[in-house]
């Protein structure tokens, strides 16, 4: 559970809020007992502080800055929408202008994932926050004729035979070719990011505001490391220029997942009806390792670390933010799947110190389809075909 509740404090006597020193504390955040009002303010402040570059005074008077907010209907992205909605309203009231507008995008992955929220949540959220633009896009859209991503078609196990498939058919064929739950989850997440980026560009957004909490960013750091994507880590977790010509922003990077869970229940009315709860057990240890993914493992791990060592979770995220990508990196050749720039000679899983076979490293170079180390691990069939 989020924080400790005030009544549970050692002596059983209700404590005063450490900030306002007037109200009774309802929970302990990090080390401070806080009342409800101060806690809500705390979450808002932490979030808005990350968006200082989007202040009203930074906006040229003749145009509107647009940010894309991808929503998954998880606690974090719904909370972010709530916070930004509130923030924009406040700006509007105070200055009659806003620093930016948000466009909400829901990526529908139902073709390949049976456990996704249904349309009614999108309707509900639109009713509650009506001032923003809402879009929905199916994941298979990446394979549709309207957005012909030629390189993605190369991912299909048998490109010639699958040429006639519907976009959904192509996506399903790709998923079926993957050997493990980890690979499937990894490829879905990668495609989702690509779709969000493509939509952001199509909608003329200068950046994307992701809903990742501190905890989620720490999970990602270790999960991407474990998936062999250390080379691209800064592009996955840091604010600012992404590898894709739109900025990535993580305004919730200083707020823990458990704090957002509490936040979503304390807001009035609560955000709970807007949040999709995946069929229970997603965060329970699912130790049949066949269905466990690396992402699941890291999620479980950081949920437990967050409980007793919240500052260690934040420290992981702060530390990762210090990694630096070489300035010339963006011009490097790209991975066909994740589209990340890859250093010369570092494509594929062969040809490095840990590769124990000789003579395989030269095979894939020069081809139009090339995969980074992490993606090669997830795409074993293509790996075999490449040899």
């Amino acid at each position: 559970m989020p924080g400790k509740h005030g009544e549970d404090a050692e002596d059983g006597v209700a404590q005063l809020c450490r900030r306002c020193r007037e109200n009774t504390a309802v929970l302990v955040v990090r080390t401070d007992p806080l009342c409800k009002e101060c806690f809500l303010k705390y979450v808002h402040t932490k979030t808005i502080k990350r968006l200082e570059t989007f202040r009203v005074r930074n906006v040229p008077s003749d145009q509107q800055r647009k940010l894309l907010l991808p929503i998954s209907f998880g606690v974090s992205s719904v909370s972010l929408l709530h916070i930004l909605d509130h923030h924009l309203k406040t700006q509007q009231t105070k200055t009659r202008r806003t620093g930016f507008v948000i466009i909400v995008l829901f990526v529908d992955t139902s073709t390949v994932d049976g456990n996704v929220p249904r349309d009614h949540l999108l309707h509900r959220i639109q009713e509650r926050y009506p001032t923003h633009a809402y879009h929905s896009a199916a994941l298979e859209h990446l394979f549709s004729v309207a957005s012909p991503d030629i390189t993605l078609s190369n991912l299909l196990p048998n490109a010639a035979a699958s040429a006639d498939l519907s976009p959904a058919g192509k996506l399903t064929a790709l998923m079926d070719s993957l050997g493990s739950a980890t690979a499937r989850a990894d490829v879905i997440a990668t495609l989702r990011t690509r779709l969000v980026v493509a939509r952001a560009k199509a909608l003329d957004c200068e950046g994307i505001v992701w809903g990742d909490s501190t905890t989620k960013l720490a999970e990602k750091t270790l999960a991407e490391t474990a998936k062999g994507r250390g080379f691209a880590l800064p592009w996955h977790v840091t604010d600012g220029d992404s590898a894709f010509d739109v900025t990535f922003n993580y305004p919730l990077r200083d707020v823990l997942k458990k704090e957002l869970v509490t936040y979503s229940t304390l807001v009035e009315p609560p955000l709970t009806p807007l949040i999709h709860n995946p069929t229970s057990g997603a965060t329970q240890p699912n130790m049949s390792s066949k269905n466990t993914t690396i992402d699941d493992l890291m999620k479980q791990y950081f949920e437990s670390v967050e409980e007793n060592f919240p500052s260690i979770v934040s420290n992981v995220v702060r530390t990762t933010a210090k990694l630096q990508i070489a300035p010339e990196a963006a011009s490097r050749p790209r991975c066909t799947l994740c589209n990340m720039p890859v250093e010369e000679g570092r494509f594929g899983i062969h040809g490095w110190g840990g590769d124990q076979e000789d003579g395989l490293e030269t095979l894939s170079s020069g081809s139009s389809t090339q995969f980074c180390y992490g993606c090669t691990r997830s795409l074993p069939s293509i790996n075999v075909a490449g040899q």
């Binding site: 490391t225 474990a226 080379f231 390792s289 493992l297 500052s311 530390t319 490095w352 000789d358 180390y373």
Partner: protein, 453 residues
């Protein structure tokens, strides 16, 4: 189900499910592929040169026993022209080291390699048992790791050997990568992913000095499970007990993660190692940290690199809890805006209270304020975090400080040795609060800092 044939020779029956990639192999093919891979690691990284004298850091455990056996085999098979000797460190842990040293003695005979045993007692005047009696079981790995690192180098220098190989395997390296991410220690992450480290020769004109020793890990890409399988199928004589003093929270936590990852995706251990090598290149200011992928620069050795292989912990007792406490205090301070940047050199000790998260010894001044920035981290300019290596003023060992870690730890130990008999509540206090021993060492450190520096 018909028995499946070996995936490599296609003739023999497959009896081994290879941990690294789950391929099915027969016993001779497994042995040969394991050895060939290590040969490959040695040749592609140019670890050795003909005529080189190599000391194998031998503990009697599986890793170093397999390392000795494989190196002997490969040296003969491929004619490396190496002179191999065994070097053992006796930490003085009764019931653990006594037996494993007997194993090393047998190995020396089996492999016909000369053996040298060097004791902590001889080098430092303290056995680990005595250290534990003094400081308690929390934090003892710090002492052991710091002492061992120097001990191997000193032993090598004494034998006129310039190159020490250790049995660190892929699991150890992967574990260290995750652990340093969890501890937020990028410089160390970048150094420990390298297959070769070296203590710089520039700081010493004396060619026999123990500050000029090369270190390498030929088993860096070998899975622990395969090492065990190899030892089993070759019927190697090794001692299979973990150190009786258990690892600390960060390392234990990272180790559990690695084991789970391996279960979910067998390649994950190798993938973490690969990520670590790639991330080393992204660490600001790390011209040294090429992750072993470039041959021109060899990273500096870690002053106190853990040497236990399987259970090297080098942090203060209940390290996660104390780091958490420290970090959360820093957060409060930076949020309340109470932080004042102090630039005078004399107050380093004060500024370092922020850094004393993992090591109770002075850290280089360049770290000052780094972890304190807290919330503003993303907006502060990224600083290069390069260590300047010099020599310890007392023992001459490689150190980024005036006084090396071993000497600082020893001073703490020696100072309290006579007092211990009369100060009653001392030990009790230590075991209760992990901070206690930090305080103790801080006192020692204050003296050191305020003296000549």
């Amino acid at each position: 189900m018909p028995p499946s044939p070996c995936a490599l020779c296609k003739i023999n029956r497959a009896l081994i499910l290879r941990p690294k990639d789950h391929s099915k192999l027969c016993k001779p093919c497994f042995i040969s592929v394991f050895e060939t891979e290590i040969h490959h690691t040695i040749t592609t990284n140019a670890l050795f040169h003909r005529g080189e004298k190599i000391a194998i850091g031998a503990s009697g455990g599986k890793d170093s026993t397999v390392l000795a056996s494989v190196l002997k085999t490969l040296n003969e098979r491929y004619d490396y022209g190496l002179e191999l000797i065994l070097l053992s460190i006796d930490e003085g842990i009764r019931g653990y080291r006594d037996d494993s040293l007997e194993t090393v003695k047998r190995n020396a005979e089996q492999y016909e390699m000369p053996l040298t045993i060097l004791g902590y007692a001889e080098l430092y005047g303290w056995t680990m048992d005595q250290v534990v009696e003094q400081v308690g079981k929390k934090g003892n790995c710090t002492y052991c790791g710091v002492f061992r690192r120097q001990a191997l180098d000193r032993g090598a220098a004494r034998l006129g050997v310039k190159h020490v190989v250790t049995g660190h395997n892929a699991d150890d390296v992967a574990e260290t990568v995750l652990m340093n991410l969890l501890r937020g220690d990028l410089p160390r992450l970048s150094r420990t992913t390298s297959i070769i480290t070296s203590t710089p020769s520039a700081v010493s004109a004396d060619p026999d000095s123990h500050t000029n020793i090369k270190r390498s890990k030929p088993l860096k890409y070998a899975y622990e499970k395969e090492i065990v399988l190899y030892a089993h199928h070759k019927s190697l004589d090794y001692f299979s007990t973990e150190c009786i003093y258990s690892p600390e929270a960060f390392r234990g936590s990272a180790r559990a993660l690695i084991k789970n990852l391996e279960r979910v995706r067998p390649s994950a251990i190798l993938d973490v190692v690969r990520s670590g090598e790639d991330m080393a290149k992204l660490v600001p200011g790390s011209d040294e940290g090429c992750g072993g992928t470039c041959s021109t620069s060899i990273p500096l050795a870690e002053e106190e690199e853990g040497g236990c292989g399987s259970s090297a912990g080098r942090t203060v007792g209940s390290d996660m809890a104390s780091m958490e406490q420290q970090l959360s205090q820093n957060e409060n301070v930076s949020e309340a805006g109470l932080e004042v940047e102090i630039t005078s050199k004399r107050v380093d000790v004060m500024a370092q209270r922020h850094d004393r998260l993992t090591d109770a010894v002075p850290l280089p001044p360049r770290k000052k304020g780094q972890k304190v920035k807290g919330q503003g981290a993303a907006f502060t300019p990224k600083k290069a975090t390069k260590q300047v290596m010099g020599q310890c003023k007392r023992c001459g060992y490689l150190s980024s400080q005036d006084i090396c870690k071993a000497c600082v730890l020893l001073e703490g130990l020696n100072k309290s040795r006579p007092k211990n008999a009369i100060e009653l509540g001392y030990e009790e206090q230590e075991s209760e609060t992990p901070k206690a021993e930090t305080t103790n060492m801080t006192n020692g450190m204050n003296k050191v800092q305020l003296g000549p520096g």
